[in-house]
């Protein structure tokens, strides 16, 4: 199952500018885990010490916000995930 994860600008900066990453998995959580295997530097940026998504990290599946509990949501081939840090501004 091939799922594309779109990376927010601030995380692109630490993975050599990659904007999209192709992943495999049956759920959003498995896809994110696959991405972290490819880019371990993302792990502390996405998860807190309890392996939960960091506060303020939003995950969208095909443009729809998957809050709450986004990691358990099922995905299908060709889906697009967007990660966004819509937490700040000002």
């Amino acid at each position: 199952m091939s799922v594309e994860i779109n990376i927010p600008p601030v995380l692109q900066a630490i993975i050599n500018g990659a904007r999209r990453i192709n992943t495999n998995g049956a759920t959003i959580g498995e896809c994110v885990e696959d991405m972290v295997q490819q880019y371990p530097v993302l792990k502390p940026k996405l998860y807190d010490k309890h392996r939960k998504l960091r506060k303020g990290t939003s995950i969208f599946l095909n443009g729809v916000d998957m809050y709450p509990n986004p990691l358990s949501k099922l995905v299908k081939d060709g889906d697009k995930i967007h990660i966004a840090n819509i937490i700040l501004g000002g």
């Binding site: 600008p9 916000d65 966004a84």
Partner: protein, 614 residues
Amino acid sequence: MTTNTGRVLRINLSSGKVSTETVPEGIARDFIGGRGYGVKYLYDEVTPDTEPLSEKNKLFLVAGPLAGTMAQAVSRWIVCTKSPLTGAFARSVCGADFGAWMRFTDYEIIVIEGKAAKPSYIHITTDSVKVLDAHDVWGKDTKETQSWFVSQHGSNTRAACIGPAGENLVRYAAVVSDRRTAGRCGTGAVMGSKNLKAVVITAARALHIADPDAYNTFAKEQVNIMKNDGGFQSHKEWGTTSTQDITNAIGIYPVRNFRYGQQIGWQKIVGAEYRKLRVGDMGCYSCPARCGKVHTVTSGIYKGAHSEGPEYESIWAFTGTIDSDSIEASIAADELCDDLGLDTISTGNTIGFAYELYEKGLVTKSDTDGLELVFGKNEPMVALIKKIAVRQGIGDLLAEGTMRIAKKLDKGSDVYAIHVKGLELPAYDPRGAKSQGYNYATASVGANHCYGYSAQDIFGAPFPRATDRFDEDNADIVIYNQNDTATNECGVICAFAARWGWSALYGKLLAAARGIKVYEDESYLAKAGDRVYNLERAFNIRQGLGRKDDYLPERIRTEPLHTREAQGEGQTVSHSDEFLDKYYSLRGWSKEGIPTEAKLKELNLAYVSKDINK
């Protein structure tokens, strides 16, 4: 159920006449409240020949229909007027308690007309309105001023006031309430031009909504949703004190008057560093986020400086603009601006401009009263803030804002003046976040980050669609963000809180507060936002603004951005005409950016057409 469209309090400082009226239901249906009411009353009452700092200009303080209730993060308020900085529509949003206090007295709009013969303040209670002598606080800073009002009128008193900057007609003076400001567009100068030090309200809590039972049900639901939202929790923890971590990392933190998008050594000014000096937090009425983070400087030349803030924009205004990495200086500068009643964004941007003029030899030490405006040095910045507020020495020139400074100096200085329509750019470089940039270009008030904030470009938000932040084919996104903001500001809900999961309740809360059921329809609300935006545009067109005023500064369009270690090196904003053609077309405006008759008719604004389609 009866409707509650809001009450208007009208005070003429020239004649002393005070009157009240009710907002007609037709206006309530079309404009909802808040910013919608602000632009509607301004359009109808302030004529194109009105000089912004003249007796003819009017000041509209507008609370939202939800303010002062148990719903959270909905008690902000707005100042609308004609801006002395831009000559265009001005809207500036403020927090703290004042919006709630307005609603406790059952006034939603306070209209201030004329000019007082001597320094005065307006004191409002539930059953009286008085214009009183402000001699005791004229010349005082905003802290002293507000304390004095409490000493005179009791602890249930809140004020919206100006500091010395407003009294001295600094064109970017702010209106201040508690430690929050209606910062942008020079609303404080308009208040000062009326010899008005403050509007002061003494009131006890009271609820004025059409359907309290329904309202409280929705409000409880809102509270439950909000407190569990991750965005809320993060905002509670950080406020906006770590946005610079992101903007530096992605190369859009403007440095040295918008020459670089990343500050060398930016790790010294990240949120975690500010946190080391944090001593508390403050919030607006009925908002548990308490996003105002309070800092105290504990050592060095700024020891003792203490401020609610700086938040992100002010952090940038007093670091990136002059390439200083002193957190302590930024706290001191922020405190000064709040005390003196200055907009931090225009102040910081203007000072960065002055530093570049000094670097280029366009102003010299003899012009600056001996100050050496050398990038990296923060002491001159702090000195300049004090001079600006009282128009002392070079402060008199800097108090005019970048556009007028460049016109007065000439000598080619205009290429370093970083503004749109006269309003100085804020803390996101347009070359690395292009829909944010085009929002600056087309925002009714000039370069304002909050007018259509691009969470798509900056944070990767994929709604209504994902963007490539370097792509300029983004007119649809800019319009979406601007209209969405206008819709939210009709209820004057907090821009941050609007993202905390309860947006489906917004219309229901409005409907229960007003007793106007049609607000429950999201498409109706969206159209109202579009209507507000178009009326603001019509106001500006009537003033003589148009397509020529919708361009970003020359530097942004022609000089490549230098991003150091971040992506985006060499970017410019180089397709302005293509963008404007598409933006105007999607908005239903002519090639010159004028709303067409058909568009105005669609929005129930046909009466405006005669003013702008001549």
